[in-house]
Amino acid sequence: MSRLNEQQAKEYWRRNVSLMVKLMVIWFVVSFGCGILLFDVLNTIQIGGYKLGFWFAQQGSIYVFVVLIFYYARKMAALDKEFGVEED
């Protein structure tokens, strides 16, 4: 375990926030975007028995949420290591 100096702490936090923002944009797009705001537009596309907007609202958004969390956990574990702030 090492202590970060002010510069490093700022950089670590900046990269964490930037990763977070990117993933939260995807979170917003698949649920509020595809599932609600673009519902009618996406429903013109049909995949099997699912209209695409309906699929995002009742299935797809949930699958994407799961992937987002694990991706964040993995990226952050790598970032912790890079800055030497991982727990032993």
Partner: protein, 576 residues
């Protein structure tokens, strides 16, 4: 074996299992009691979180609501899962790093104020108590329907079981029981769904069955549902928007941030060993939740189709009332299903027109419980559903009771009233607080103040408008001070309560609604259950404005915030 014997067998053996675990996982210290010793593996914690989170509302009510709301029901699916993304990225890792036992403790320290801590305790107790009433009611209903005992007896048995494993084991006992309860409830949910999906579509995976064609026919399941519901004058299933696009947006957002702000969910992340584990544990929790949540829309849609086709086997030809199936009679007895032969022709004529519709009542809640019977599945499947419903209600009730008990014994007693008590005294106090909380919840389950249905939704609104913004600002801002946080919480929760009470009565007392000349949903067409996000925006705005005109927080707060932002040196959760 007949259904009742099988139900007793399934429910009895799962209860014996919970008690066995309770005996094995007794709590020896306050750390065991509040955070299960802090050594729970992230996957195990994920499973426990899933059971903690999925209540009687998720297990029994949600698919039924989707059944009748169609696309509009998506707000629950997205809202109650999307909150975990917020938890994993914006809250859980930092609160775990902070490493204390309760949510109000963080708010009190970050905003260097006992007042802030008390306000947080009040918000926590308000949302947890409203939530727990619904669980107790679920326990009573499941018992009275499947084991044919009195509602009150069922509730009492449920209370005794929770008492044993929650009071003895605290968070430790609750965690390991919740893992067992998750297994019971997920089997009970997916097995009937697989059977029904297979029957209707020939595909054993409900998530795929929902998008398949009907077995032996050339029409998609969803298209068929759209067809049969619109024939009777109902709105098209797959495009039925809940009030308006804006309302659906607000509803989904309120449920998401409400989920992230519910204390009984947050404290589950205090039980894992490391910050890293808090992140991945949220992912595991969502995996286990998603298994049920992606099955639910299939259960809802298929139940709706089966129900419609039982009542109207072919277009224009209705079921004869005297030839109604057994499940119909069983549910009529409970009053959750009601038929009224308006034109005296002995046929069950179901339609969207309230004047001619003869199915006067089909309660949302019967859809999951009656589904296996409607689909004529074997008795053991039905008995399993009863055990699953009880597991869902008990696991959530236990989590909520722990959140309430720890707020009383740790935040109020140890934190303020008697800071000098020993650990042993605090442990005993938390057991007493837990026992009192169980008695209180049981009392409210027996004498629900007539508003039980409205209350779970209120819990989300309260958490979304008070606790969630306070935690977010505590982590992401160094400038928000104690005046801002307190004013924000009070304003957020105040305006949310105001809007809900305006529609549903002050503390839900009938006759005290005061809309005056205003229309229902007067604020941009948003319904009261979806109002939490507006309360949250008010909270953020007030907190920032007030902080700007009052003194900056002390230097120690900046250090605290910098400390929680970096994982290293988290240590284990502690009360000191």
């Amino acid at each position: 074996m007949d259904l009742q014997t099988l139900s007793y067998l399934f429910v009895g053996s799962t209860f014996a299992l919970y008690l066995g675990i309770a005996f094995w996982a007794r709590a020896g210290s306050t750390k065991d009691f509040y955070v299960a010793g802090g050594g729970v593996h992230p996957v195990a914690n994920g499973m426990a979180t899933a059971a903690d989170w999925m209540s009687a509302a998720s297990f029994i009510s949600m698919a039924g609501m989707i059944s009748f709301m169609g696309y509009g029901g998506s707000v629950f699916l997205m809202g109650w899962t999307g909150g975990y993304v917020i938890l994993a990225m914006l809250l859980a890792p930092y609160l775990r790093k902070y490493g204390k036992f309760t949510v109000p403790e963080f708010i009190g320290d970050r905003f260097y104020s006992k007042t802030a801590r008390v306000v947080a305790v009040i918000c926590l107790i308000l949302c947890s108590v409203t939530y727990v009433i619904g669980q107790m009611k679920g326990v009573g209903v499941a018992f009275s329907r499947f084991l044919e005992v009195e509602y009150a007896t069922g509730l009492f048995v449920g209370m005794v079981i929770v008492f044993f494993y929650a009071v003895l084991g605290g968070m430790k006992g609750i965690t390991y029981t919740q893992i067992a309860q998750y297994c019971v409830l997920i089997l009970a949910y997916t097995i009937p769904a697989i059977f029904i999906s297979l029957q209707l579509t020939g595909n054993p995976v409900p998530q795929l069955g929902l998008g398949s064609t009907l077995a032996g026919q050339d029409i998609y399941l969803l298209d068929r549902i759209d067809q049969v519901v619109t024939d009777l004058g109902f709105k098209q299933y797959s495009t039925d928007v809940r009030l308006s696009t804006l309302n659906m947006f607000a509803y989904t957002m309120s449920l998401m941030i409400g989920t992230a702000g519910l204390p009984h969910v947050i404290i589950r992340f205090f039980t894992v060993p490391k910050v890293k584990d808090a992140r991945s544990s949220a992912g595991w929790a969502l995996v286990f939740i998603a298994i049920l949540y992606t099955t639910a829309p299939a259960v809802g849609a298929m139940a709706r189709l089966n129900l419609m086709q039982t009542i109207e086997p072919s277009p224009g030809e209705y079921m004869v009332y005297d030839e109604r199936p057994q499940w119909f009679k069983n549910w009529e007895k409970t009053g959750l299903l009601q038929f009224e032969d308006k034109n005296q022709d002995g046929l069950v004529e179901y339609s969207a027109n309230p004047e001619t519709n003869e199915m006067v009542k089909i309660d949302n809640d019967i859809m999951v419980l009656a589904n296996p019977e409607i689909a004529q599945l074997p008795n053991w499947v039905i008995a399993l559903v009863a055990a699953g419903g009880l597991a869902a209600a008990l696991s959530t009730a236990a989590g909520l009771l722990l959140a309430i008990a720890s707020a009383i014994s740790h935040d109020l007693l140890k934190g303020m009233i008697a800071p000098n008590i020993t650990e042993k005294q605090e442990l005993n106090a938390s057991r007493v607080a837990m026992a009192l909380a169980i008695l209180g919840a049981g009392y409210l389950g027996l004498n629900p103040p007539g508003f039980a249905a409205g209350t779970v939704a209120l819990a989300f609104g309260l958490a979304a408008s008070s606790i969630f913004p306070a935690l977010m600002m505590g982590i992401f801002s160094t400038r928000v001070n104690k005046e801002g946080a307190i004013a924000g919480m009070v304003a957020g929760i105040g305006i949310t309560l105001f809007y809900v009470f305006q529609h549903k009565g002050i503390f839900f007392i009938p006759g005290t609604e005061f809309l005056g000349s205003m229309k229902p949903n007067w604020f941009m067409g948003i319904e009261p259950n979806a109002f939490g996000v507006v309360g949250a925006i008010v909270n953020f705005t007030v907190a920032n404005l007030v902080s700007r005109v009052t003194a900056e927080p002390p230097e120690s707060v900046r250090e605290l915030v910098e400390h929680i932002r970096v994982p290293a040196g988290s240590g284990e959760a502690t009360g000191h």
